[in-house]
Amino acid sequence: MQDVRLELAKSDSNLAAQGGPFIHKTSLTSFITRGLELEEQQYVSESLPFTL
């Protein structure tokens, strides 16, 4: 996972260096990574004996 994140982060940086549009201070890779982490947290909470 970490090597793919690094590869995508480099791709994000290259795009920005080439004058790509600035969309948010959080990179696209970080945005999607965080989304997947949140998804996992939601799944984990399903297995807890109480409701998050």
Binding site: M1, V4, R5, T29, L52
Partner: protein
């Protein structure tokens, strides 16, 4: 509009918490357990709210879906079956309707999601193999 909804959601959170604590009090009697539970719930909800801001920047076409969901959370907050943080749809790119997925802003996000999901699956398989 979305920010206003988030503010409203925060305001009603205490009422929701009270109702919820009454429900779980029978099973989780100590104050520490209840406090831990509430912190986790609030933490996940807060993280999702923060992430939404970034989501709307990268995929503005998802705005209507996100706003509608926030409205539903607000609507159900005072009911007996509130929408808990674990049930709030995230709307990651691959789960968006096709008309939104085909927008230019979503295409790149989908490529990143696909690559990261594949890596995530590889890691999980490696963990399983390791534990066998």
């Amino acid at each position: 509009m979305y920010q206003n909804l988030c503010l409203s959601l925060s305001n009603i959170n205490s009422r929701q918490t009270l109702a919820y604590e009454i429900t779980v009090m029978k099973k989780y009697e100590t104050q520490k357990q209840l406090a831990d539970l509430e912190e986790k719930r609030h933490g996940l909800f807060h993280c999702i709210t923060q992430w939404r801001e970034i989501q709307l920047a990268y995929i503005p076409a998802a705005g209507l879906l996100v706003t509608t969901t926030a409205s539903e959370v607000l609507l159900h907050s005072a009911s007996e079956n509130p929408l808990f943080a674990k049930n709030i749809p995230l709307f990651l790119p691959s789960s968006l309707p096709s008309d939104i997925r085909s927008t230019r802003s979503c295409t790149q996000s989908m490529g990143h999601e696909a690559a990261l999901r594949e890596a995530q699956a590889d890691d999980t398989l490696a963990d399983i193999r390791h534990s066998l």
